[in-house]
Assembly symmetry: C2
């Protein structure tokens, strides 16, 4: 009957345990509801561009967004994925710098826009919220440090195995073990830092070794333990 995408309610977001907004007061929640904007995006849409001065941050209500930097030669380096409950674009707002990444939609998404002034207001008046945000930033910093170490020390093969495990853990798999997230070969390459052809060849090898099954962009994890071992992933 009504095919219009649903407009997200902040209260709903607040209930989400992982949401930073749970620390907001009632008044601040209504302020947020009033100030925030909300938009629907399709795969390929760009939320914000690297190098621009951001006017606010975004909260992902639905869908998946990739954040990437553009290196020399124009090659993308995917820095992270954001899904429901994640806040993106806060780094540049807080540090007062230009955006260091571009945010692009991978899976049709709904995002709420939070103006810088609103966000900064919350930070200045609500220390719990502020601390929560700080925790997120610091956690992300730890993840980045791990990423650096992995990319610097592991082989492409190991990193690819690792990323498959990560994607399963982060975005889940269906009842058959097929990864929920769907990425192009090039996107895989842009995560692990290699050439598209290398990804294709290595995925083929994983398939030959019966670690995974491939059907187009659908990747089914058959032997997670073997992949973990290969990728030096310890839980």
């Amino acid at each position: 009957m009504n095919n219009k995408p649903e407009f997200p309610i902040c209260e709903e977001c607040k209930k989400n345990i992982s949401s930073i907004f749970k620390k907001l007061t009632i008044d601040q929640m209504s302020e947020l509801s009033f100030e925030k904007g909300c938009s629907f995006y399709k795969r390929g849409d760009i939320i914000y561009h690297e190098g621009n001065r951001p006017s606010g941050s975004y909260c992902v209500s639905k869908g998946i967004v990739k954040l990437f930097k553009t290196g020399v030669e124009g090659k993308e380096q995917i820095i992270k994925f954001a899904k429901k409950g994640d806040v993106i674009g806060y780094r540049s707002v807080l540090s007062g710098e230009l955006s260091c990444t571009t945010a692009k939609v991978i899976e049709d998404a709904t995002l709420c826009f939070i103006p810088s002034t609103t966000l900064m207001g919350f930070i200045k008046t609500n220390s719990d919220f502020s601390l929560e945000l700080m925790q997120i930033a610091c956690n992300e910093l730890g993840v980045a440090n791990n990423f650096i170490t992995g990319i610097a020390q592991k082989t492409v093969r190991e990193r690819l195995a690792e990323i498959l495990i990560y994607l399963k853990k982060e975005f889940g798999a269906d009842e058959n073990g097929v990864l929920q997230i769907s990425l192009t070969r090039e996107e895989y390459a842009n995560i692990v830092g290699t050439a598209t052809e290398s990804v294709i060849r290595l995925l083929s090898e994983f398939k030959d070794d019966k670690y995974i099954e491939i059907e187009g962009r659908k990747i089914k994890i058959l032997q997670e333990a073997k992949l973990k071992k290969l990728g030096n992933v310890f839980d």
Copy 2:
């Protein structure tokens, strides 16, 4: 006459423009002076270990400290260097996680220890201080993202050129252009993510190309512009 190393005064640190403590109130400054500990460390000393739960953070008053993660095979990956005015160990305190790096002294150092409770107290009661700290964390996150992109996309040669430029910018050079910071070949390798032998060979090549001069650990930058071009460094 008096060869004892000088004990740093917080007030002095506060004057330092880059210090986050400039946002503290008078009362908080005296609290900090009262609560803080201070120690002297020699090259090779470890400030804190990866995997431990930290009891506080440290402010570098003098010297240089390297922060590194230990990857598989025990190889170090240097994540960052900290020098006068930098605060280290705050990430795990704020995120409530275990330390994700080890901090080791590279150049004899003086550090002030700030207990977690003191730091958290400041954060909860002083939103300016809190914001300042958040800016530091977010800035560091941006640096990490750059690092990831570089290490994923650039060749070892490019990264080595880049790091030489970075070290000059960050730690300066004497009147002859010799880098102030002194690192072993292995440490260079652990920054750019390569083998020690590769660093040695590439530094030799840079020398042959007259980009640098080498005398033991002293590295003199001869042609910064060429190195910048090689490393794809744009100011």
